[in-house]
Symmetry: C2
Amino acid sequence: MKKLIIGSKAELKKIFNIEEVKRFAESSLDTNPIHLDSGYAEKASFKKPIIQGMLVASLFGGILGSKLPGNGTIYLGQDLKFIKPNFVGEEVTACIELVKIREDKPIYTFETRCYNNIGELTIDGVAVVKYINPEIK
Amino acid sequence: MKKLIIGSKAELKKIFNIEEVKRFAESSLDTNPIHLDSGYAEKASFKKPIIQGMLVASLFGGILGSKLPGNGTIYLGQDLKFIKPNFVGEEVTACIELVKIREDKPIYTFETRCYNNIGELTIDGVAVVKYINPEIK
């Protein structure tokens, strides 16, 4: 397991496909055509269907739950600013960095950011999690 | 379309099944067993696998994109506090209420909340969206 010290970092890269975007739209009961209809997305001044911001941001949960801190992490909060869209079929990089450790409780604050395939910041935010290392329980 | 005035409300109800939770785990590259393994969830002091908080919160995008304001809504931000878990197979109610309209830009702030099947608050947050009514473009 990675060490939980200020400055600890982890990242994930992923290309979302149109099937994942459609399933997420169905699951979240979101019929907004901006994610599903190329013609509509173009008219709305995006070059192609955009991935739901919350689906992209789900990668933060992926990193927190599987890499840093890892299995057993309890998500307490997530703030998100959707700065630029991420497009279907283009690689997303999600990064987190530990910026605060509570002294009284095992509660950790991470800066969380996503970038598009040309390195532009697309999502900026902060995650707060609780984590007790299962190996030292 | 619903009127966009301070106090405008909309809601969605949904029961997430284990398949949706598994697909979201795969899509977000999250291997945290707390969502997938009943034994682990029990040991971690939850009575059964919990739905990913971000999957539950995706219902806010569902309401914003399909009900209030509706199609064409652009998500600018979402703050989330995960207060209590929602469990697989139990009904979630997601509610939004318009609390602020910018005077200079078509930017709207909503309070966003989820409740479990016995009416307890599980997620509290705030969404900010941009919306231009396509009928008056």
